[in-house]
């Protein structure tokens, strides 16, 4: 079949489509966003009517996937690493309910935090839930792995994670397609109680899940993605996980690597293969993209007796992504000659676009707050987080999706006045509605500013689930009608907008100010269309 040039994200999407996918669910998050976007614009997916709309958040997405799996169909859920925290509840429990139709949880981690607030390694969730994890080392494997993932998922009745990292997610290479599998027919679980986790059932299911572990490990031992390659120089053996394998091979393009290599891309860790390497080699170098999962596991508590190099002993930095140069250093090969960055080069951080509505909202908000001093504005995850940087310097916090509102509620409890939350429309739909309910129930003295730009802008203009319904949602949750205010963040309405903020700050209860103006990119796109 035809070769395609695909991003790692797109390769997973195409691989899942070709492996009989019926529904994909997820919430946008760099570097995972392009997985669903690819399926949304794919003609075959449209023709097959593969379910492909965005979900409100990662938790609803994973539960929707469980639901379609309940009907026997194959599902994939996508998210970034921190999204898996949001979906952790269904993910952990899905280990016990298992899957009927195959389920893939595709998670894109972001080591070095290019677009994230931490760099957690999702493989730990796999270990935590005792579920298999596949970790592609290149685009072809990203395409091929969904097929194996569905196969394992349906054979053992459990979800399977595919974990990738930024550099593979956003790097393009050619893949070769293979024959397309048909989608599953509608069929309910043979055991009608499969998805029932009342304690009496859950205990039995946990026993079953534990008893599966040996077989899952056997799968990893025999996996085509875990390979042992011998080498003559046994002074050192190398374990390379996922993408790290490429950086290893990159340093031996002109010759064979002289050391034995164990490539691991399928978890749980293959104990026997690791044992073979350990007994053959004097020293083991462990290369992993992310946190030292294999290294910690192999070293254990008393592993200082083993001669293991990796992130824990400082051979590789503890934080941040790998690179060919870091791996080269760990291999004790000489650096390639290179220059430094000239001192004349300055930092160029990202910034709000020229004409961005958030800039006008921040200007008005700052003006309304100028007599209260610093430290009143809790913000959230999105383009508007850039309002922290000069020249805006308008916000004080950024923690996780929805935390702006909940933190403002808590800070008001602690005596902060005014306590302001700033949250985007899509983030509000993701995790802002529940803390708003808390605020309403306890009559918090807070002002919630919803920056309604009619899109999920930071990740590239995906649909916002709450578009056209923000006021109704706030009303429905119980915010008083007269304290749901709408402003148009434009320079010419500055005075009016400052007054609105001041009035709502003066009101001792829950106020919502909706700053409504489309993202300039959405505006330009809509204008281009009409």
């Amino acid at each position: 079949m035809k070769r395609l040039m695909l991003l790692g994200d797109e390769a997973i999407a195409q691989g899942a489509l070709d492996a009989g996918l019926s529904g994909i669910y997820g919430y946008p998050g760099t570097p995972s966003t392009e997985i669903i976007e690819y399926i949304q614009r794919n003609p075959e997916a449209r023709q097959r009517n593969v379910q492909r709309t965005w979900s409100a958040n990662e938790k609803t997405a994973l539960e929707e996937a469980l639901g379609i799996s309940y009907t026997g169909k194959r599902a994939m859920v996508t998210m970034k690493h921190v999204g898996l925290n949001v979906a952790a509840d269904p993910y952990m429990n899905s280990a016990l309910t298992g899957a009927n139709g195959g389920i893939i949880v595709a998670v894109a981690d972001d080591p070095s935090m290019h677009s994230s607030q931490n760099e957690q390694d999702s493989r730990f969730y796999g270990k935590f839930a005792l579920l298999p994890v596949l970790e592609p080392s290149n685009q072809q494997e990203a395409y091929d792995m969904p097929r194996l993932a569905f196969q394992i998922s349906e054979m053992y009745g459990i979800p399977v994670m595919i974990r990738l990292t930024t550099r593979l997610a956003h790097s393009r290479a050619a893949i070769t397609r293979i024959a397309v599998l048909p989608e599953n027919e509608f069929h309910l679980p043979t055991d009608p109680n499969q998805f029932m986790l009342l304690p009496a059932f859950a205990r039995k299911k946990y026993e079953r899940h534990l008893s599966l572990q040996e077989k899952l490990e056997q799968e990893a031992e025999q996996s085509p993605y875990n390979t042992y390659t011998d080498g003559p120089d046994r002074s050192r053996g190398i374990i390379a996980c996922g993408l790290a394998y490429n950086y290893l091979r990159e340093n031996y393009t002109d010759r064979e690597c002289p050391h034995p290599i164990l490539k691991i891309c399928h978890y749980p860790l293959p104990e026997k293969l690791i044992g073979t390497l350990l007994s053959a080699c004097k020293e083991i170098l462990i290369l992993e993209e992310g946190m030292p999962l294999a290294e910690e596991t192999i070293r254990g508590l008393l592993g200082y007796k083993l001669n293991i190099r990796g992130r824990l002993d400082g051979t590789i930095p503890r934080a941040g992504e790998l690179s060919p140069a870091l791996v080269r250093k760990a291999l004790q090969l000489p650096d390639l000659p290179r220059a430094g960055i000239p001192a004349v080069v300055r930092g160029r951080p990202p910034a709000l676009c020229l004409g961005c509505p958030h800039a006008d909202t921040y200007k008005a908000l700052k003006s309304a707050l100028k007599d209260y001093g610093q430290g009143h504005v809790f913000s959230d995850i999105g383009c508007y987080t850039l309002g922290f940087l000069p020249p805006h310097q308008a916000i004080n916090t950024c923690v996780d999706m929805g935390a702006s509102i909940s933190m403002a509620v808590g800070a008001a409890d602690g005596g902060l006045f005014p306590a302001i939350a700033v949250i985007g429309d899509s983030t509000f739909g993701h995790s802002g509605m529940t803390p708003l309910l808390d605020a309403v129930v306890k009559k918090s003295n807070v002002v919630i500013v919803i920056l309604d730009n009619a899109t999920t802008a930071m990740t590239g203009m995906q649909d916002s689930q709450v578009e056209g319904r923000v006021e109704q949602i706030c009303q429905g949750i119980g915010v008083e009608q007269e304290h749901i205010r709408i402003i148009n963040p434009l320079e010419r309405y500055l005075n009016e907008n400052v007054s609105t903020f001041k009035e709502e700050i003066a009101y001792p209860g829950v106020s919502v100010v909706i700053a409504r103006r489309p993202c300039i990119h959405v505006y330009a796109r809509k204008r281009g269309r009409s």
Binding site: S115, A173, P324, V345
Partner: protein
């Protein structure tokens, strides 16, 4: 054949279009290709880069190793220097000299140009000016692609096909404008060589 290329610029300047066209040309020429892109936060006016690796053999790393780039192609002069550690000793630096001023502490232009001229193999041109003269102000990136064309080892006609492939759905006029811009950049670079 091996070409490791760093494409550099500021979010929104169109380096991904350059990458797509070179990539198209490389694949059409039967080469292997890997192209790492920057998506997400940095695209909002921050520094962005794309690693483009072309070879007739298997390419492992998605990232160009430090010290091994054959070409840095930058649509902005300060951004060109940010990736200097990637450049190999024999590599070329091809850069636009028109600054993108969205930071308050942008360095002195003379100092910047001095640093660029230190690089043994460099080509500089004002691609914004050239695209303006062509009345194709949005084709600055294609001028720069043209300036890099002599260093790519890819048949120029395949790059022209790449432009048709990438811009085709925007209409013949846009395609023609971009082809003209690329040709002008190529001409300028060949004069400097």
């Amino acid at each position: 054949m091996k070409k490791d290329i760093i494409l550099a610029g500021v979010g929104g300047q169109g380096i991904l279009s350059i990458a797509a066209i070179i990539g198209f040309g490389a694949v059409e020429s039967g080469f292997q290709l890997k192209q790492a892109e920057v998506h997400g936060m940095s695209q909002r006016g921050g520094d962005v880069q794309s690693h483009l690796r072309i070879s007739d053999r298997t390419i492992y790393s998605d990232l160009v190793p430090l010290g091994s780039a054959d070409l840095i192609l930058s649509v902005e002069p300060m951004e060109a220097l940010r990736y200097k550690p990637y450049l190999s000793e024999s590599g070329w630096l091809v850069t636009n000299i028109h600054p993108f001023l969205n930071i308050s502490d942008y360095p002195d232009m003379e100092e910047l140009m001095k640093e660029i001229r230190i690089v043994p193999h460099h080509i500089t041109l004002d691609a914004n000016q050239i695209s303006k003269e062509l009345q194709a102000p949005r084709s600055m990136n294609m001028v720069m692609l043209g300036a890099a064309a002599p260093f790519l080892d890819i048949d120029y006609r395949k790059l022209q096909d790449g432009i048709r492939f990438v811009f085709g759905r925007k209409g013949e006029e846009i395609v023609e404008m971009n082809l003209r811009a690329m040709a002008a950049g190529k001409k300028q670079a060949e004069q400097e060589l």
